[in-house]
């Protein structure tokens, strides 16, 4: 006799156990260590993978359901934005340049993150970690796609957005984010999670996705704010993966503590350097300001980081080595970074400009100790020069830091008038660094960082020209050949915003009827 069995629906914890941990088995034909060969060589000791916690306990079925909802919401907005010519509603066309930086600098990282999470999602011995990484891998692919879809609308109207992936693989300033990820990708799986999930996602990513996306909303960019928050809604899970992985390593064996501390020191500094470009976007590239870089840093890093590291102290973990210096940098790095892009404005695929009078006043107010003292005089000088038809463009190539790949632009701790230079000797060669911390990262793994693909070195070695280009030919212009290799449209993508095609088009489109806009 068949009596239907009425089973109570499983609770979240049981459902998670059944649909995640329950999918795992120990292999018998081959030893487990041969099936999962990559999660031991870093020296991290794991005794019991069952202790891995996934506090959201999200199972795959629920994951698809909620991700599907997010996508529907997002694409409704992207469509509405395109149909309503939303690009004409942004504050002014200077704002678009922040999107160009985002598309070429950040979006390709999403794709790299997708690849790497797929890799570690296969390689961890523990199922909890594998499932969390697999979900994140799909999230990152989604971020790559949705950012590309959303921003492709701007590409119809504005210059410099036509080949983000190509540029990310070649352009000098884009080697900064690219090298950060490739450094993480070429680490072991535990270091990778410490680099990307903990240092980047947990500690630092709030600064990119929260104040910057609020800024997009403030500047009338409904499309970007929507993909930003949609991506960020996955971020809570990613951050959780980061902190849980960190706690798991620390709880499993005391021998793990010094290894993890070393990674925190390294990746906090790498991430901090990477974010200098976000600092610049926040302070200089949003025509309508929401929050200064410094305020964001205080809210999301100082306050929150204090709480976090007080909490981790019970494992014997202290704040990252570069903490104090990074906190001092909150008053400087946006100004120093934007000044470099302004002066290298001929060699970038986005426009720069001298801040307007009221923008300078805002910067003075937000940076009372530093802006007027160190940075305003230079802007006044450059503005004067530009007015006299002498807009300053740097024509030589900069020396780069071997570790972070940023030009030597940052100043000495405690002295913002003096550029910091450090160097190390390794196997008969000299290597240069922007800071003590970048030098220390190199000194710990010189065999890795001597392999860095430094754009300036590559240009000088003749590796950044298109195939078939003959540098010995009469009238050869090396810089133009490099821009051609980058796929820059010289005169359209680069140079000052003042006088640019973007500026003229936007003014015409807004002045004329919307009918006048051409694709």
């Amino acid at each position: 006799m068949d009596t239907p069995v009425l089973k109570k629906k499983l609770g979240l914890k049981e459902r998670y156990a059944a649909m995640t941990r329950g999918l795992h088995w120990d292999t018998t034909y081959q030893p487990m260590d041969k099936v999962f060969p990559y999660d031991k060589y870093e020296g991290i000791k794991i005794h019991d993978w069952d202790k891995w916690e996934d506090p959201f306990r999200l199972t795959m079925d629920a994951y698809w359901k909620y991700q599907g909802e997010k996508e529907k919401k997002l694409y409704a907005v992207i469509d509405a934005f395109a149909q309503n010519n939303g690009q004409l509603g942004v504050t002014d066309a200077r704002y678009i340049n922040a999107l160009k930086v985002f598309l070429t600098g950040v979006t390709p990282l999403e794709y790299n993150a997708h690849r790497l999470f797929a890799h570690v999602g296969r390689q961890f011995t523990g199922t909890g970690a594998r499932v969390a990484c697999q979900m994140q891998s799909i999230d990152e692919l989604r971020h790559y796609q949705t950012e590309t879809h959303a921003l492709s609308h701007y590409n119809k109207y504005f210059n410099g957005m036509h080949s983000p992936k190509h540029m990310n693989d070649r352009v000098w300033y884009l080697s900064v984010p690219k090298s950060y990820f490739e450094d993480a990708c070429t680490s072991g799986p535990f270091e990778f999670l410490t680099a990307v999930s903990f240092s980047f996602e947990y500690l630092l990513t709030n600064l990119l996705f929260v104040p910057f996306m609020s800024g997009a909303a403030h500047n009338g960019d409904m499309s970007t704010v929507t993909f930003g928050f949609s991506a960020q809604s996955d971020e809570s899970r990613h951050m959780t993966l980061g902190i849980e992985c960190l706690k798991f390593m620390l709880e499993q064996d005391p021998d793990n503590v010094p290894i993890v501390q070393g990674w925190i020191d390294k990746w906090f500094w790498r991430g901090y350097r990477l974010l200098s470009i976000v600092a610049m976007m926040q302070d200089y590239m949003l025509p309508k300001r929401v929050m200064s870089w410094r305020e964001g840093w205080e809210m999301y890093i100082e306050q929150n980081g204090e709480s976090l590291f007080r909490d981790l102290a019970r494992y014997g973990i202290r704040k990252p080595k570069g903490w104090v210096q990074a906190c001092e940098g909150k008053n400087h790095i946006s100004h120093q970074t934007y000044a470099v892009f302004y002066s290298y404005g001929a060699a970038a695929a986005f426009h720069t400009w001298v801040p307007e009078e009221e923008e300078m006043a805002w910067l003075s107010e937000k940076y009372p100790e530093t802006f007027e003292k160190y940075y305003l005089p230079r802007w006044n000088y450059w503005r004067e020069q530009a007015k006299n038809g002498n807009r300053f463009y740097q024509k030589t190539l900069p020396m780069l830091c071997q570790t972070c790949q940023i030009p030597m632009i940052f100043t000495e701790p405690g002295d913002a008038t003096k550029i910091a230079y450090r160097e190390s000797d390794y196997q008969g060669d000299k290597y240069h660094f922007c800071s003590d911390h970048c030098k220390e990262i190199f000194d710990n793994e010189p065999e890795k960082y001597v392999q860095a693909w430094l754009p300036v070195h590559q240009i000088y070695q003749g590796n950044c020209f298109k195939p078939g280009v003959d540098p010995t030919k009469e009238g050869f212009d090396p810089l133009l050949a490099v821009f051609d290799y980058y796929n820059f449209k010289v005169g359209r993508d680069n140079l000052d915003f003042e006088g640019s095609e973007d500026q003229k088009n936007f003014a015409a489109w807004r002045g004329d009827s919307v009918q006048g806009a051409k694709k």
Partner: protein
């Protein structure tokens, strides 16, 4: 004591969740950066399913909050009835 925080998109879906959090956590404070609602609370914070259900008058699956969640701080624990955030210090 350290603050924990939770941030949602400022939209209609989030409204009952915010209301529930403010009702259940006497010390929680909401601020509204453009596009967002950020709730800070000293030490810990809890999001209760029942409170949300009372406000909206229908069943609510707590995992639904993932759709509008923007960021969080603190250690998380979630089951069918509540999601909690706390610092152990």
């Amino acid at each position: 004591m350290s603050n924990v925080f939770i941030v949602f998109q400022d939209n209609d879906d989030s409204r009952p969740i915010i209301e529930a959090i403010l009702a259940d956590n006497a010390q929680a404070q909401a601020t509204y950066p453009t596009g967002l609602v950020k709730i800070d609370a000293p030490g810990s914070l809890v999001v209760r399913r029942e409170t949300i259900e009372e406000l909206i008058g229908r069943p609510f699956d707590l995992q639904q909050i993932h759709v509008n969640l923007v960021t969080i701080s603190g250690h998380i624990d979630e089951d069918d009835d509540q999601l909690s955030l706390k610092w152990n210090n």
